[in-house]
C-alpha cells in the first residue's frame, strides 16, 4: 500500500472508535512504519477532534428537554397480549350488560307473552274511584264523561281486584269503554303487572 492509498483510507479514521474496524488495519500499520504518514495521521486525528469538540459544544436551547417531557404524551410499553385481553374483557362485559339491559327492558315494558284472562266486573273511571271512591250507577254519568275526556278507565272484577284498561300501544281504549261506564261487562284481554299494579290490554268487550 502506498502513502496516497493509505491516506485515502485513513481520511475516515477517527481514532480509538475505529480501531476495531478491520478496514483501517493495514493503513494504520503503514502509518506506524512511515513517519511522514504518521505525522499526517496525527494532524488529521487532531483536526477531527477539534471539529467534533466544536460541534458538540453547541448547547440546545434552555429548557428544551423540560418542554419535550411536559408537552408530549408519556409513552407506555404496549403489551399486545394484555391489550387483547383487555379488549376481550371490555367486549364481553359490554355484551353481557347489553343483554341484561335488553332482558330488563323486555321484562318491564313489553306485554308480549302476557297472560290472557277474562275479567267480569264494573267499568270504572279510575280517577274518581281511586281519589274519591266513587263508582256504581249513581256515578255513571260522571264516569262516562271522565273516561270520554281521556282520564284512565278501569274494571273492578267480582273478586275485588282492579285493572287499568288499556288498548294496544298507541291506541286509546277510552272511546270504546266510555259507554260502559259503571256497567258490568266481561272483558277478554292480556294481563300484565308492574310494581303490583295490574293492567288489562283489552281485546274484546261483552256486556252482560
Amino acid at each position: 500500500m502506498n502513502t496516497r492509498d493509505a491516506k485515502e483510507i485513513l481520511l475516515l479514521y477517527r481514532g480509538p472508535i475505529d480501531d476495531s474496524d478491520p478496514q483501517f488495519q493495514a493503513a494504520l500499520d503503514c502509518a506506524k512504519s512511515d513517519p511522514e504518514l504518521g505525522q499526517w495521521l496525527r494532524e488529521q486525528t487532531k483536526c477531527y477532534d477539534t471539529i467534533r469538540a466544536k460541534l458538540r459544544a453547541i448547547e440546545p436551547p434552555l429548557r428544551l428537554s423540560e418542554k419535550i417531557v411536559r408537552r408530549w404524551p408519556i409513552p407506555f410499553p404496549r403489551d399486545w397480549s394484555r391489550i387483547g385481553q383487555l379488549a376481550a374483557a371490555i367486549l364481553i362485559s359490554a355484551s353481557v350488560t347489553g343483554l341484561l339491559m335488553k332482558w330488563s327492558e323486555r321484562r318491564h315494558s313489553s306485554v308480549t307473552g302476557a297472560q290472557e284472562i277474562v275479567v267480569t266486573g264494573e267499568v270504572l273511571d279510575m280517577t274518581c274511584y281511586i281519589a274519591y271512591n266513587l263508582s256504581g250507577p249513581d256515578h255513571a254519568k260522571c264516569a262516562r264523561d271522565c273516561i270520554r275526556s281521556g282520564l284512565p278507565a278501569g274494571i273492578k272484577a267480582q273478586d275485588g281486584k282492579v285493572y287499568l284498561l288499556t288498548g294496544e300501544v298507541g291506541h286509546s281504549i277510552n272511546a270504546e269503554v266510555a259507554d260502559y261506564a259503571a256497567k258490568t261487562v266481561t272483558i277478554k284481554g292480556r294481563q300484565t303487572v308492574r310494581d303490583g299494579f295490574a293492567q288489562l290490554q283489552v281485546e274484546e268487550i261483552r256486556k252482560l
Binding site: E8, L12, C47, R52, K54, A57, L64, S65, P77
Partner: protein, 171 residues
C-alpha cells in the same frame, strides 16, 4: 421504572445530540428544536415497536433524519451545494484550520455542503456511531456512506482552509 421516568431519562440522554444533529442539518435553531420534539413525539407513539433497547439511539437519529427529509421535500429551503466531482483530491490543509473558526462558523460552513453529504458527515463527527450504524440511520449502503463522508470531509477541510481569518476575529 415507570414509563414517564423512562421517557424523561431518554429525553435527557439524547435531546442534546438530536438537537445538534438537527441544527447541523437545518441551520436553524427553531427547526432543530422542532425536529427534536417531533422525534420524541414519534418515539412516544411508536417507540414500543422497537425490539432492542440498544438500538434506541440509532432509531432516534433515523427518525429525526427522516422527518428532516420530509420537511426538505415540503419546503426545499436550504441552499445545497453539491460536491464538485473534480475536487476529490486530498486537500493540503493547515492542521489548525478547524481551530480558526468557532462553532457557529463551522455550522455555517457545514450548511453549505449538500444535504446528502452533510448528514453522514455530521454523524461522522458528532456521534460515536460505527459506519454501519450511520448507514442504517441514513438508509444507505455502507460504501455510499463512506464515500460521501470522505468527499464531504474534503470539501469541509478545503472550506475551512479557505476561511483564512485570524483567530481573534472568529472567536
Amino acid at each position: 421504572m415507570s414509563a414517564d421516568l423512562e421517557f424523561e431519562n431518554l429525553v435527557k440522554l439524547y435531546y442534546g445530540d438530536l438537537y445538534r444533529f438537527g441544527l447541523s442539518l437545518t441551520g436553524s435553531e427553531a427547526d432543530a428544536a422542532d425536529l427534536t420534539q417531533e422525534t420524541f413525539y414519534i418515539w412516544a407513539n411508536k417507540g414500543h415497536q422497537l425490539q432492542k433497547a440498544a438500538s434506541v439511539k440509532g432509531w432516534l437519529f433515523t427518525t429525526l433524519h427522516r422527518e428532516f427529509l420530509k420537511t426538505c421535500r415540503r419546503r426545499n429551503r436550504f441552499s445545497n451545494e453539491s460536491i464538485d466531482e473534480g475536487a476529490e483530491g486530498l486537500p493540503n490543509v493547515p492542521p489548525d484550520c478547524a481551530e480558526r473558526v468557532d462553532s457557529r462558523t463551522l455550522l455555517r460552513i457545514l450548511g453549505e455542503i449538500a444535504e446528502d453529504f452533510r448528514a453522514p458527515l455530521v454523524l461522522y463527527y458528532m456521534e460515536d456511531l460505527s459506519y454501519k450504524e450511520i448507514a442504517d440511520v441514513l438508509a444507505l449502503p455502507l460504501g455510499t456512506v463512506q464515500s460521501r463522508i470522505a468527499r464531504a470531509k474534503i470539501q469541509l477541510l478545503r472550506r475551512l482552509s479557505e476561511t483564512n481569518l485570524p483567530l481573534e476575529q472568529t472567536k
